[in-house]
Amino acid sequence: MDRHDRFEELTKRVVHMETAPTAHRTHPGLDCLLDSMAGELASDSRARLAAHLATCPDCRQRLAHVREKIRRQEENLARRIREPELASALANRRGEVVAHEERASESWAQRLVRSLELHPVRGVAVAAVATAMVVLAVAVPLLRIPQGGPSSRIASLSGEVENLKLQVSVLNSREGTNQSSYAFPQQVTVEDMKALLDQARSINDEWRRALLLSSFLESKGLRLPGTATVDRVEAYTAQAGDTWESVAKEKLGDPSLWPILWLLNAEEASSQSELSPGKSLIVPRASHE
């Protein structure tokens, strides 16, 4: 063991001797311990207490418990102090959310009024722009009205209808469903139907004939509605005043689909151009029946 180790051993021995427990007759009270922790003891009292604690394991243990209790209470207190801050932060946040929701539920007029109240300069600018837009909205349509009287206006509306039809057919083709692939039926005459029938009769192959008829109907935009089918048919007795169109409207929901009824009853139809009361017809049966 070298000199350094021996000195270290000496220091350990000294510390051990200095702090060796001693039997004390009296012990410091709680007030004294608390004053010591608060740093409110005079230096000589502090030294005396330190000497007592260093040699009295019981008092040291007691002081350790007191310190731990105080530390926990300080933590609880700090937590309670923080809680109101958290509650206040939450309340502020709730206020922001409510204000946001109120703003979201405002009409454009309320928002405009609010903006006028908050920013007068901006409000004047918005009012000026709004006035200009109203003037334009009134003036431009007046400038664009056709100058040819009611007939010109009707022609214009017809054009718009045609455009709408085109747009609907484009949209339907994009949808791709069977029912929505709707095309507006084109005008078909009885002469057209008779010519078609003559052409079909010239074809011996029943599949080619069926293909010819279906192609014709397809080209004219004539399709059975989804509620009807030609696989299942039923008899219909013509009433007085019935026409192909009226029966088509009653059975198929669309008078323009009369060529389909006409083809189903082609043998009878081709011989006479108009329906006579009491005549028995074949009509598609509604698919839901």
Partner: protein, 154 residues
Amino acid sequence: MTLREERLGVWDALVAGHTVSEDRVREAILPAARETSEDEKLCSSLLWAAAKVSRSASPAMRRNLTAVLRYWFSQEGFIEQPPDLAPASLTSAGLDEVMGLGLSWPQAMESVAGNPKDYTALVRVTTLLRKECASAWREMFGTAIPRVFVEGGD
């Protein structure tokens, strides 16, 4: 107060990192000069040396001295369930707080905001204390200096 209690009062101040005046130390130690117990003389000389270092050494060495004293005294005194305190919370801890904690040297250094990896500080402080102990023994007791304090006295 007994002599030991007087010394413990000074130790407490030194462990807390305070500087102790020479007068106070003389007050606590000199009555022991006539004591016959060798152990009492050893305790007094070590306290004298530590107090002198606390007054005269560089700030870094004074800080290291506090760490050394906390390291030594924390190994003494048993406490049931010692508090799990961070060393940094022991900035001004006295004897009663340090005893029983069983600090490691790095923890003792952390308690004085020193470098916890500086193990040479422990050696440097004990070497200085040993020299001061020899000087204190000569000044206080005038008798033959214990070999443990004398340089090259193995």
